[in-house]
Symmetry: C2
Subunit: 280 residues, 2 copies
Amino acid sequence: VFRGGKVTAAEPGERHDRGIACEPRLELTALPGLPVIRPGDDLAELIAAGLRRTGMDLRHGDILVVASKAVSRAEGRFVDLATIEPSDRARELGREIDRDARMVELVLREASQISRKAREVLIVRHRLGFISANAGIDCSNAAPPHAPAGMGPWALLLPEDPDASADRIRRTLQNLSNAEIGVLVSDSFGRPFRLGTVGVAIGVSAVPSLWDRRGERDLFGRALEHTITALADQVAAAADLVAGQAAEGRPVVHVRGLAFTPGEYSAKDLCRPPEQDLYA
Amino acid sequence: VFRGGKVTAAEPGERHDRGIACEPRLELTALPGLPVIRPGDDLAELIAAGLRRTGMDLRHGDILVVASKAVSRAEGRFVDLATIEPSDRARELGREIDRDARMVELVLREASQISRKAREVLIVRHRLGFISANAGIDCSNAAPPHAPAGMGPWALLLPEDPDASADRIRRTLQNLSNAEIGVLVSDSFGRPFRLGTVGVAIGVSAVPSLWDRRGERDLFGRALEHTITALADQVAAAADLVAGQAAEGRPVVHVRGLAFTPGEYSAKDLCRPPEQDLYA
């Protein structure tokens, strides 16, 4: 149940971490000098090289936040819309919302449910579980490098499995550094009730998605009730402040100061289950 | 119109800042040693003393994020529920959602519209413009200091005018430091589609609430479309990571590294107008 400032007790099967201690200081640094990511690039190697250039090491508890667009580009998630044959339903929806039927077709293929329709936008539940506009498909900067003339327009899908992408990057960097770190794959989402986009985690490796404070004591000795913080989303939002957008070309942010116990988490932990949803 | 990862063009009259430049590094520090805030406390003076104790100065572009609970306590926003006479409507709603009718009465007095009802929770549009559960009224830690026995239970309302609260704190600190700074009043909100709470800005002084990137060029020379970042909300979310909750008693976080041009902004800039709302 959505509780505004508070969140109700966890459902059975939800995983929460109780081993987090916030340091009183958090430092976020965007890695400079990363190249424009190309299909087949090894992001972990590029990140390791970027860290070496800045003289930064990786320490236990560090988190790297990687923009989903960089992951998608490395994984070659480009789609030439000219190759997409829209279904009758996509054509009809495209007319209804005034949007290219091939783009609508791509959104429908990535979605499990339509939540709302508006001009040029479909708000859908993505097959990965979250609710977002146009299934997170990016139509800006979406051309692959050296795309032949006469192809496109291009779209860029989200990574196939962002948790797995985060996990691969984390394992490689951990092997290189011997530090137990966390990795998040982030995206910018709009919000139903508030203006402006915020960073959220769509892929999680080793970082607790949710931080369960229930059972801790407040200043007055009473147990804190109902307090579960969207830890991974807040880290992604903080990273978005330094990552900027494409103009700066800073798709990777290094976060230091959050002491967490690494574990098995998923960005799906952050998605409100449909049966608890009062709005979609 | 809600666009997921993107937000559509601003409406006339919306204020946006184009003078923000993100440094590649952001540092967030929770001020240690602040006392439990009491009605009548001068928060700006307490913050200045906290900064002096840590040897930190205030520099141009620094932001202080102050938890709404601390502001509410300083402003004496305590309510003894025993003094509240619930209306018939509050009694009926209280029975319906299984909640103390006096608490429901308080929520209704703070709200302009009910969005959803669920067990023990009313999701409402607050008179300040945002949508939140139970109008942001806090029932934990809500007793004032030295409350006489036999009174209560107590609730703590949000500040009467959080923009004005942020502005007062900013002006005092600016006079003490000669640095042009920003101040945010933050709260933790739940979200309709995602689990866990995140920090949001409910009071804004001098910091651009929204960061309008439209018209900037992306890496490939095309104009970035539709990109408006919820700057103040992301700063509040980042600060929430170091502020912790009541147990740590860290209601104030100092943020350095965001270069912004101070201006006249309001937390209302972050509230989606009802006519653009596809959900409430």
